[in-house]
Amino acid sequence: MWKPLNRNGLTVLTALLLVCLTASIAFGAVVAQLQVRQLIPGLAEKVMQLPEPRLAQLRATKARADMEVLRQNYFVRNNVPFIRGAEGEEFELIPLSKMEYAPSAVQLQKSHVLATPLSDLRAYIQTEPLVVATPPDVVDHRPDQTSVKNQSNRGTCVCFASMAGLEVAYGGGSLDLSEQYANYLYMKAEGHGCKSAGLQTHMSADYLSAHGVSQEGVCPYQNDKYNFPGYCNNGGLPAPAMRVSSEASSPYRIKSYQKIWRNDSLTTDTGLWINNPRYLEALLRGGKDIVFGTHVAGWVTPYTGVLDVKLGSSGDPLGSVGGHAMLIVGYNKPGEYFIVKNSWGTNKGQAGYLYLSYDYIRTYAKYGYVINEVHPLVLTIRRPMLRAVPRIQRSE
C-alpha cells in the first residue's frame, strides 16, 4: 500500500536522486572521452610523447614570449636586435613594428648611445638583471585613434566619446562614425527630442549594443544646435525616409562591454574602479581605451598643460561646472597624467588631446566603460555583372 513519505524519507530520496544524477554525469563524461579517443586514436599519447626537438622549440618560443616584458627596456626602445642573457644565451627581441605598444615617434628616434658598439652593450647587459618586470612608464594609443573631431556648440560630448571608442574598436584609421545618428539614438532612447543633448556616459554602451550606428556620410553632424531641421534629414530627404536609410546602413555595434563605476570610499589605488588610476593603466596596457564621464572643474584655456585638481578658498576641490565625456587613450606614469581624446577640435589642448592628472581622475571621474568586442561587419558582395567579352581572333 502506498504511503506518503515523512520528512526523513524525503531527505533520503533527494540524496539518492542527487547520487544518481552525479553518477550519470560522470558516466557520460567517461563515455564521451572514450569516444573522442577512439575517433582520434593516440591523441593522449601524442601529447605526452613530444619529441625532444619539438619541446626545445616550444621552450624557445616561450622564452621569446617572456622577453616581451622587455619591450619598454632601453635596448628595445633603441632598436637593438638581440641581447645576451646572463648564462650566455641570446634572445632575439620582438621587432618594434610587431609590439603591442610600439614606442611613439619621439622614442623611436635613434639615441646617440646606439653609436656604442654592440659588443659593449652585450658586456653591459651581462652585469645587469635581464628581465624588467615593471609595467611600461608610458602607454600612448594616440597613433591608433581616428581624427579629433569638434562638437561645436552642442552638448554632444557623449556621442563623440562613444563614437571615438567605437571607431578605434573597429580598427580606427579613416573610419568616421556618425555622432549625429548616435545622438538621435541616445535621445530617442531617453525619450527626448533629437535636438536635445546630455546623457550619462555609461548609458551609451547600452544603447550601442542594442542598436548600430552608421558612418558619418550617411548622417552628417549638424554643427548648429539651433538650426538643423530635426533628426538628420540634411540630405534633403524627408526625415522618416532618411531614418530608414540610416538604420539600414548602421552596422557598427558593440557586442560586449564592461562598465566601470566610481567608488567614493577609496583611500588607496585598489579595485576595479574608474577613480583608481592603476586599474585604468592596466586596461590601457591591455590595449583598451576607456570611454568615461567626468566632472569639469578648474579647467583653464588653452588646456595644453596637465589639468589638475584645484582647491577653492575653503580648501576643498573646486565644484563641478558640468559633466563631460571623453576617451582615455594613454597614460604617463612619471608625469602622473592620462592622455585623453577630446572633441573640441585640434586647436584645444595638445592637438585635441588633454592631459588629466591622476589626482583629477581620482577626484572627478564618474564612470566609464571599455568595449571588449564589436559585431563583425557583414560585407555584401555584389555578383559580378556578366558582359559580353569580345572574341579574340587567334592568329595562326
Binding site: Q151, S152, N153, R154, G155, T156, C157, V158, S196, A197, G198, L199, Q200, T201, K225, G293, T294, V296, W299, T301, Y303, S320, V321, G322, G323, H324, A325, W344, K348, K366
Partner: protein
C-alpha cells in the same frame, strides 16, 4: 498588571497616530518641475517645492567660465538649494525653491559671463495660494 498592559497599548496607538499624521502632512507638498523655457504663472501651495532647470548650456570652452545665479523677488517663496543633473554634455543647474506662505513672487535665473555681467535672464512668476488650491 493587566491595566498597565492596556495603558501601554493605548499609548502606542496614540503615538502611531501622531506619527502618521505628521508624515501625511509632510508628504502633502507637490514638486513642480519647471523647464527653462516655461511661461505662465505657477500656482502653488505652501509646502510645495519648485525645481527650476536652467538652459542646457553645452560643456564647451566658450561656456566653461559662465555661471548661473538664481534669486527671488516678492514673498512666499525661498531658494532652498541647487544641484547638478547627473549627466554629461550640459552645464545645467537645478534650483529648488520652496513655498512657505501665501503671496506672489518672481523667480529669476541669470546666466553670467566670466566678468560677472548678466548675459541672459529667465523669470518665472509664482503665486502661492492657500492650501485648498494646491491640487495640481
Amino acid at each position: 498588571m493587566r491595566k498597565a498592559l492596556w495603558l501601554a497599548a493605548l499609548a502606542a496607538a496614540v503615538a502611531a497616530g501622531v506619527v502618521c499624521a505628521e508624515v501625511s502632512k509632510m508628504s502633502k507638498g507637490t514638486l513642480w518641475i519647471v523647464p527653462y523655457d516655461h511661461q505662465g504663472v505657477l500656482r502653488v501651495a505652501p509646502g510645495d517645492v519648485i525645481e527650476v532647470w536652467t538652459t542646457p548650456l553645452a560643456v564647451i570652452p566658450e561656456n566653461l567660465e559662465a555661471r548661473f545665479r538664481a534669486s527671488r523677488e516678492g514673498r512666499g517663496v525661498e531658494l532652498v538649494g541647487e544641484a547638478l543633473p547627473h549627466k554629461e554634455g550640459t552645464m545645467e543647474r537645478l534650483y529648488f525653491f520652496k513655498a512657505f506662505d501665501p503671496g506672489e513672487a518672481t523667480l529669476k535665473v541669470e546666466l553670467l559671463d566670466p566678468e560677472g555681467r548678466v548675459r541672459e535672464t529667465w523669470t518665472y512668476r509664482v503665486q502661492v495660494g492657500p492650501c485648498e488650491t494646491s491640487e495640481p
